[in-house]
């Protein structure tokens, strides 16, 4: 597809409130389907963190009409991996299938989303997998550094600061009743968005989605209000020891804005210059290219429905932790004090606009873009408007973002690594 023409997807609202987005692409004889519902991890009740994640592991292990064995055969005989993912706000069922399997996969996704049977023995099997996965995370400095950093940035039970998988203790306590309740309370057609992109006619997508979901009834779900985290007034650093590791992982970040904030595009450009452009932006130039300290160093900007983080990440030898943090401080301070150059601004904007055809080349890429456009209310012509939105970002807007957010004195820093990592 040519970006100049725009995606122009079909968008239809069903009577029960569910929304269908469809885009035909004939490049390959395949279709990507993604059905999302506002039932992500942020909805986990206090004290039972991990319910949404647990539900994602068991929701497709049996329905009112099919047991886990039948679902396994249906998927495996068509070469399809069905993914159930609990994100912060959205709970997503997605797969890519051959075009000839579109109807059966859409039907399966509808059945799984509407009628999960949540068998006890499946719950117990998946519980052990989740516990093992949490134990693996405890031995993974990269995961630990990021999770603990989010806990520092979003404290006091804020939904963005909680571990998606929950604690082992909570996972042990999650039972069928808790999972059924999470499903009953959050899974209703009013918040459902079904996206299908690929070798299938959009009218057929609307028709078949209407048949699969049209008679689903449920009350509207109250929209989430994600509270801003407590304001940060000081720099905080924490060290987490993981025995006998060769490398220490550093996460250094700030709370920023929501995706809906008008500063989103300027902050995206600033982040690109700081820690993305080419091989990790300015951070990559300093820490990897000039000082040779890290194989990976980058920054990630992750705004959401609520205010989200900008996190700088690096993996370095334990002896280089202090030097790396000093280098990050230097780059952060320099960008806030001196701003970015006109050349950097123009190069970054050109890259971000120019990368759109790659982003929208595959069915999965288009589906993700459409789903996100709908979730944040950006409009179905967002792909057409995006180049202008990025193009309009000014030097002053980027520099204002740098001054506002890049304050080393308010950074949250976590380091996870071996015992010999210098204590801070």
């Amino acid at each position: 597809m040519d970006v100049g023409e725009g995606l122009s997807p079909t968008r239809r609202r069903l009577e029960n409130g569910a929304l269908v987005l469809a885009k035909a692409s004939r490049a390959t004889p395949a279709v990507t389907i993604a059905a999302s519902i506002p039932a992500g991890t942020a909805a986990d009740p206090p004290g039972l963190t991990g319910v949404a994640h647990f539900l994602s592991k068991v929701i497709d292990r049996g329905t009112a009409s099919m047991d886990a064995e039948a679902i396994a055969e249906l998927l495996d005989s068509r070469g399809v991996s069905l993914a159930a993912t609990a994100m912060r706000h959205a709970f997503v069922l997605s797969c890519t299938c051959l075009a000839e399997d579109f109807s059966s996969m859409l039907g399966l996704i509808a059945d799984v989303m509407r009628n999960p049977s949540l068998p006890d023995h499946e719950i117990d099997t998946r519980r052990g997998e989740i516990v093992t996965s949490i134990r693996q995370d405890q031995d993974n400095p990269a995961v630990l550094a990021v999770e603990e950093q989010l806990a520092l940035l979003y404290p006091d039970g804020h939904p963005y600061g909680r571990r998606a998988k929950g604690t082992i203790d909570a996972v042990e306590r999650i039972d069928r009743r808790a999972l059924e309740r999470a499903h009953r309370e959050r899974f209703t057609p009013a918040g459902l968005v079904v996206v299908a992109v690929g070798d299938v006619d959009p009218a057929r997508v609307v028709d078949e989605t209407s048949r699969a979901f049209g008679d689903w009834r449920g009350r509207p779900v109250e929209p989430w209000v994600t509270p801003p985290p407590a304001p940060v007034l000081e720099r905080r650093q924490r060290m987490f020891q993981v025995a006998d590791k060769a490398q220490a992982d550093i996460a250094y970040g700030f709370n920023t804005i929501s995706r809906l904030d008008p500063a989103y595009y300027a902050l995206s450009v600033m982040n690109n210059i700081l820690g993305q452009y080419a091989l990790g932006g300015r951070l990559g130039d300093n820490i990897r290219e000039r000082q040779g300290m890290a194989y990976y160093v980058f920054s990630a900007f992750e705004p959401n429905l609520g205010e989200g983080p900008l996190v700088i990440r690096a993996g370095v030898n334990p002896a280089n932790v202090d030097r790396t943090i000093a280098a990050i401080d230097e780059e952060v301070r320099r960008m806030a004090a001196d701003g970015v150059t006109v050349e950097e601004l123009e190069a970054s904007k050109k890259y971000l606009v120019g990368s759109m055809p790659r982003m929208l080349e595959t069915n999965a890429g288009i589906a993700t873009f459409l789903q996100s456009s709908e979730q944040f209310g950006l409009g179905m012509d967002h792909d057409v408007r995006l180049p202008d939105l990025l193009g309009a970002v000014t030097l002053e807007e980027v520099n204002e973002c740098a001054r506002r957010f890049l304050v080393p004195g308010r950074a949250a820093i976590t380091i996870a690594g071996p015992n010999e990592t210098p204590a801070l």
């Binding site: 991996s81 099997t125 990976y296 120019g354 080349e361």
Partner: protein, 435 residues
């Protein structure tokens, strides 16, 4: 709207200096992907210089005679593009995917990389520590540590046994001249394949490629006699004991090369054991396979002995490995995990697969071959990958070869590969830190 499948067969052209060019038109997006493949990988490294292929790959992002160091940043980003590279046992490759308008820029970059790398001593030193950091990052992952041990144990003669990233002592010792000499010996047009896929005109590709690469002189491609791995005579076993939280098991068997008779039947075996992955190292192995009804998934995950199981059979120039990887579930007894895994592998080696399993595996592979060729980047990767390890013809015939695999061939391939004498078993056993 264009379809990938409507595209004509790839066109093959040779320049006078021996450079092979594969061109695949695909007018599905306003993009082009350029890959330059070299027939050099960690199999070509002698003791004392392990990791040199990968380090050379890193150095080839550091500037050339006509792309000074300060001009590297932005050279492809200017076209909205991305670039990257990787090194593995048989190959080193570089890619750019960007707007079709960047075709000339991408070819220029690759020609520079082939002929004019600078290898400034200061860049060699800063990259030494970057690569050691990459190695240390891998050491943080118990699964990677175990894989290194298992591969080393499985190969005692063939250089597939040493890790592509190299041994630490070699990374600490190698000099700028070691790297530059290796680069000059192997980066020759007659040791490379240039692949261009996307929204391009083949005549224009040939014209521009000739402009950029035509004057690069060919050379004598180093031929290094490789020891064939002798027949394994009995089970080998390695155990890694390190602090950790989780136990991991790997079971590796020597497997045929991509051109070996048993390779495609063994792909069926792998799919029946752990679900089909496909054939694209660049894309398919990043998405989980359909495996809920696979034999080892049922025997290990559904039985609550493991939290995850996966299998790996990759197309390689020489016989490599089929490897099963298992994450033991918290609290499961390692002996029970291993017993259950081996029982399934032995049963398949003894009895082969059923007709239904064969059909299911073929359906899975048919779907994966579609999914893994969904972008010009992936299409270009597959052409160059297969040309480097065997031939592009092998890739173009892969779907048909899979379709024609019989139950008898699967049984024969399983019996030949999965026997206990051909097996290396590795355990990562976590030592719980003293509280």
């Amino acid at each position: 709207m264009a379809r990938m499948s409507d595209s004509p067969a790839p066109r093959t052209v040779f320049l006078d200096n021996g450079l092979k060019i594969l061109i695949q038109e695909a007018h599905t997006a306003p993009l082009a992907s350029v890959w330059c493949w070299y027939k050099v990988g960690s199999r070509d490294e002698a003791a004392g210089c392990t990791g040199v292929s990968h380090w050379v790959e890193h150095m080839n992002f550091k500037g050339t005679t006509n792309i000074p160091r300060e001009k590297v940043k932005g050279i492809i980003e200017e076209f909205g593009g991305s670039w990257n590279g990787y090194t593995w046992i048989d190959q080193t490759t570089y890619l750019e995917t960007a707007s079709r308008d960047a075709l000339d820029r991408m070819l220029f970059i690759e020609a520079e990389r082939m002929a004019n790398g600078l290898y400034e001593p200061a860049d060699v030193e800063s990259e030494r520590t970057v690569i050691i950091s990459e190695l240390e990052g891998g050491e943080n992952d118990p699964d990677q540590v175990l894989e290194m041990e298992v591969n080393s144990a499985a190969f005692k003669a063939h250089p597939y046994g040493h890790p592509t990233i190299g041994w630490l002592s070699d990374l600490e010792r190698m000099t700028r001249d070691d790297l530059y000499g290796y680069y000059r010996r192997h980066y020759l047009p007659n040791n490379a394949t240039l692949v261009v896929a996307g929204d391009v005109d083949p005549a224009e590709v040939i014209r521009r490629a000739t402009d950029h690469f035509g004057a690069i002189p060919p050379g004598a491609v180093p031929v290094r006699a490789l020891s064939a791995e002798p027949l394994q005579l009995g089970e080998r076993r390695v155990t890694v004991e390190k602090p950790g939280t989780t136990a991991y098991l790997k079971i590796a068997h020597h497997a045929p090369a991509a051109t070996g008779d048993g390779f495609f039947p063994l792909l069926i075996v792998d799919a029946v054991l752990t679900g089909a992955k496909g054939l694209n190292l660049w894309s398919s192995f990043r998405t989980p396979p359909p495996q809920r009804s696979a034999r080892l998934y049922r025997a290990l995950v559904e039985s609550r002995l493991a939290s995850a199981v996966s299998g790996s059979l990759l197309p390689t120039a020489d016989p490599y490995l089929h490897t099963v990887s298992v994450t033991a579930r918290e609290g499961a007894a390692p002996e029970a995990v291993e017993r259950a895994a081996i029982a399934e592998i032995d049963r398949l080696a003894r009895e082969g697969v059923t007709t239904d399993e064969l059909e299911k595996a073929k359906n899975q592979l048919r779907a994966r071959l579609v999914f893994e060729n969904d972008s010009v980047t992936n299409v270009a990767h597959q052409l160059g990958f297969f040309e480097t390890i065997a031939s592009v013809g092998l890739f173009l015939s892969a779907a048909d070869r899979i379709r024609r695999v019989t139950r008898d061939q699967v049984a024969a391939a399983a019996a030949a590969a999965l026997g206990p004498n051909n097996r290396t078993i590795g355990w990562f056993k976590p030592l719980r830190p003293a509280s």
